[in-house]
């Protein structure tokens, strides 16, 4: 079957377009999924940063404590 396909000359455009489109769409979809996961992680970092800011604000006289010997 493979030999038969190889024996054929140029693959017609209307046959090739769905394969080419599928390959490129699959690639960009994969990259988009990766970026979506990474942006989720970025959101978590942002949330944790907010928690830390609150924690730092709640600490009474933290700057004086650090200055003390």
């Amino acid at each position: 079957m493979i030999a038969l396909h190889l024996a054929l000359l140029e693959i017609p455009l209307h046959q090739a377009v769905p394969y080419v489109a599928a390959a490129y769409i699959a690639f960009f979809a994969l990259i988009l999924i990766y970026l979506a996961i990474m942006s989720g992680k970025l959101s978590r970092i942002e949330r944790e940063l907010g928690e830390l800011t609150e924690l730092a604000a709640r600490r009474p006289g933290s700057s004086e404590e650090h200055d003390a010997p």
């Binding site: 079957m1 493979i2 000359l9 140029e10 394969y19 994969l30 970092i45």
Partner: protein, 257 residues
């Protein structure tokens, strides 16, 4: 640290990818035998090359980790393998689609190029479970580095062995580029290779920035909580990145999750 110059890099990558797509579809002629289907070539082959180079880079970073014991090299190796696996999945998918269009089958088990690439992917698929199986972060990093070096050495050896194979259907692209490919095909192919390499580097830096920021946050959390033992990283396959006050130091802080 890794986020520095990430924006211009991302913009360059975007521009290069756009230019590659435009040239591939509107400037490069159709292949005499493959016709329009050959356009997958500009995606599949550079992706495969960048994937394999990524695995080799991970091995080199692992060597640097074992030599220096600097956890940043372990993280670089980890992120390189992670990203190359993602690219590798794209290689397998795009390759299967091309095979279906060109050969009439999604996969051919008698084809050494396909099977060898799958073997490489399966080998690297064990990397994360291996890391997760080891609880002690120091031992985990050491074993993972040994794995990355061994597997990284297997990649070029595997490539050479497959090239020596005489019974194959898969096109021998690297040999064809300098010998047989017409000028326009070559230009677009090399541009595509550069674009994919840029994409890999951009995403690698993006993930490294995220991991580094995560580690710094944990360090800050522990500092503010005033408890050095608090918030120790839970068991994870992600390397434990050392982050000090200046960005890199000795205190072990997990970049887990």
């Amino acid at each position: 640290m890794y986020g520095k110059r990430l924006r211009p890099l991302a913009l360059t990558t975007f521009a290069a990818l756009t230019l590659t797509l435009v040239l591939a579809f509107f400037w490069a002629p159709n292949d005499a035998n493959q016709g329009f289907l050959q356009k997958i070539f500009y995606l599949h082959v550079p992706l495969a090359i960048v994937t394999l180079c990524g695995f080799v880079y991970a091995g080199l970073a692992a060597i640097a980790h074992l030599r220096t014991r600097d956890s940043r090299w372990d993280m670089r190796s980890y992120v390189a393998i992670h990203l190359s696996l993602v690219f590798g999945v794209a290689v397998l998918v795009s390759g299967s689609i091309w095979a279906k269009g060109s050969w009439g089958v999604w996969w051919d088990w008698s084809e050494p190029t396909l099977v060898s690439f799958l073997l490489v992917m399966l080998l690297y698929a064990t990397y994360q479970p291996l890391r997760f199986a080891i609880e002690d972060p120091e031992r985990q990093a050491r074993y993972a580095s040994v794995f990355a070096i061994t597997a990284g050495a297997f990649v070029p050896i595997n490539f050479v062995i497959v090239r020596l194979s005489t019974a194959y259907l898969h096109p021998r692209v690297l040999g064809d580029i300098s010998a047989n490919l017409p000028g326009r095909f070559q230009v677009v192919f090399y541009l595509s290779l550069v674009s994919m390499a840029l994409l890999w580097i951009t995403l690698w830096r993006y993930e490294m920035t995220s991991k580094h920021a995560s580690a710094q946050l944990r360090a800050l959390k522990r500092l503010l909580a005033g408890d050095e033992d608090e918030a120790l990283p839970r068991r994870s396959a992600v390397p434990t990145l050392s982050v000090g006050a200046g960005g890199a130091g000795s205190s072990g802080v997990g970049a887990a999750r």
